[in-house]
Symmetry: D2
Subunit: 173 residues, 4 copies
């Protein structure tokens, strides 16, 4: 299992797709976006769910956390059942988020990758994508890495997704 952690617009999803292309076996890409898509639309407008504030902040409520916990258990079970999984995640709680995953993934072989991107560059990519709340890239750029321990860190500020993916793949062998 590979865990990619990075802020919004840091380039995680592009690296994940490149990893699928360069790794010899088929890997599933699963991410927090998958979880949000699976939730009721109403979860994005209530305090109990997830809220994207106009300045790029993300607030998560108790019902979101409950579903997220069950979903994490499910992802771990997929890996235990033999699926190769690339997790495309945003550790909003930094080290605390990693510890939750470490508990769930106990006993599994996990390769932890930090995906960094300088905030101004990530902010520019956010504008170029045009489909994200402006401000998320900057507000998450440092926060998600606070205290997190990695096997490898890549930086997409000056390096393309495919090159980052190759660096990761080389280390997995």
């Amino acid at each position: 299992m590979i865990v990619l952690n990075g802020g919004s617009s840091s380039g995680k999803s592009g690296i994940a797709r490149c990893l699928q292309a360069v790794l010899p076996d088929p890997w599933l890409v699963i991410g927090v976006d998958t979880l949000i898509d699976a939730m009721p639309a109403s979860m994005q407008t209530t305090d109990a769910g997830i809220e994207f504030t106009s300045d790029g902040g993300v607030k998560v409520g108790p019902e979101f956390r409950l579903l997220q916990t069950a979903w994490m258990a499910g992802v771990a079970a997929m890996v235990r059942a033999g699926a190769r999984v690339i997790l495309d995640e945003v550790f909003l709680g930094g080290r605390g988020s990693q510890q939750l995953w470490q508990k769930v993934l106990a006993g599994l072989d996990v390769f932890w990758v930090g995906v960094r991107c300088e905030a101004p560059v990530a902010a520019g990519r956010e504008v170029a994508r045009g489909d994200r709340v402006q401000g998320m890239a900057v507000s998450q750029a440092e926060m998600v890495h606070q205290g997190v321990l990695y096997d490898l860190e890549v930086d997409t500020t000056h390096t393309a997704s495919l090159a980052c993916a190759r660096t990761i793949a080389a280390r997995l062998r």
Copy 2:
């Protein structure tokens, strides 16, 4: 857990979203489309993966099945960990597909729903959607229900998604 089984363009996904809106608690919608999206793009062009033939057929290879089996275990684990899950599925193998799920979901409280739609009506909806391979609706309309055992069957031929969802919700209480 609610399992919705029906052919392409039978209206499962619309019913699933309506169920999320009418049921009092938050439910996750997870479906085979989620799984296909998580796979490498190359799985849609190799014999080992999944192939959509030009006449609407779907062929599934050994690597697809391996990932699918692990994914099924993961979905079951989410439910065991407390998530309410609506499964949006297409039993390409009819009763055989149901038996695989029954094994994985053993011990869980499952409500099995057949979503039927007369083939010509489903084919018309396929044209109206414009994003599906033409022919899937007709080829799957009967096949996916072969020998499958249900707690409830709904028919979207003349009944709207929301009305079907209300019928299902009423039976769950």
Copy 3:
């Protein structure tokens, strides 16, 4: 040229795609959604642009109107240059909106179609789609038809998109 006018979730886009499938020549489908997608993302958050209120209302500002007017002239020019166009529109101003189009399309052969759907049914479809602001279907169901003159009206409440498209196509010959 065919103009389809109807409220949100009345089924216009489905009918448009079915018309493309049943009509012998290739037709372009162009709609107000195309225009909104072409605008800057910021137009959806400023008073000068377009705003979707939380109760399903739509407010349009001066800069939106300016671009819309130029876009209408462009659509008319495509038709004059020989393109067959199906316009997928929402006459938020009812008869007034039609008169603006009539002026722009002066001299062209236009077939005006009203696409009706009873408000509760359209509201149910809005829930089933899951990607629209709830309330638009109801607030627009009657409003967009106020005083509008049609060559033909179809009603999707009990009739499928493909059947409506066939009715329209039969009248065009």
Copy 4:
């Protein structure tokens, strides 16, 4: 009017969205993808329409050209009617494609921008996007610029979309 010409995955669309964000007035982004989306689904599978070959080639038939010609006239009319338009284009015919546009846009103030990206880098982005036929980036990288005359050229190989957009915007004043 601004015309951005470049191969698939060269970064045109990102630059176009950044231009919308940095330019003081509202600009519409219109591109060949808009046209393809407006066409019948069947146009993507017949010789008369547009075909994406498995090695990344693009073949365009007579019916596609007819609709494209009318669409070009429509885009020109939007600009004449006062819309600020950023055209996101792929000159499959190089200089010949530019000449067709020059004829249609005669008398208008057009700023021609070449968007270059080294083929291997564009190919890597194509993998990272995951939604394009592999091979288009490489096959188009040089071809679309053959003989084309520009007011400005930008290169996204080592420069971000937002920086390219700022360079273009600075030259427009």
